[in-house]
């Protein structure tokens, strides 16, 4: 479905936003969306979409959200999620550059 969206809308204005609960799953999603499925099992095996990938809790993204909605939907996760670790994992994927 992600590939279909990329085919339909093109990559130019597309960005992927994750809501993963931990750093490992966020990094795995990011890896799949940027460099292709590392397990080589899914439809994105060998497909490097090279999408910009962010987690909704990263300050760069979170700060753009309406404060009331941020409070309603994200406040609890500020306590529950290790955002620094999630960001670290995503930076690792983003830092690897283009496949």
């Amino acid at each position: 479905m992600v590939r279909k969206a990329v085919d339909e809308f093109g990559k130019a204005d597309l960005v992927a936003i994750l809501g993963s609960p931990d750093a490992d799953s966020a990094e795995l999603y990011a890896e799949t969306l940027v460099h292709g499925d590392p397990s080589w099992l899914g439809p994105l095996a060998g497909v490097a979409l090279d999408l910009p990938v962010y987690h909704i809790m990263e300050p760069e993204i979170k700060d753009q959200i309406d404060p009331a909605l941020r409070k309603e939907h994200l406040e609890l996760f500020e306590i529950a999620l290790d955002v620094d670790k999630i960001e670290e994992g995503l930076n690792r994927v983003r830092g690897r550059g283009r496949a």
Binding site: F9, L14, V15, A16, I17, I65
Partner: protein
């Protein structure tokens, strides 16, 4: 990354932040969700 004017693929997770919650948030930032999913691994 400025969200305003972007088309967004949302991959939420049941045990984390779910798709519809992310959708509401990114809409408020001026982005347009084009795919909204909530993964579940149970």
């Amino acid at each position: 990354m400025q969200l305003k004017g972007k088309k967004v693929i949302i991959i939420g997770e049941r045990d984390g932040i779910q798709g519809p919650a992310i959708e509401a948030c990114v809409r408020s930032a001026g982005a347009e969700p084009v795919l909204v999913q909530t993964q579940c691994f149970v």
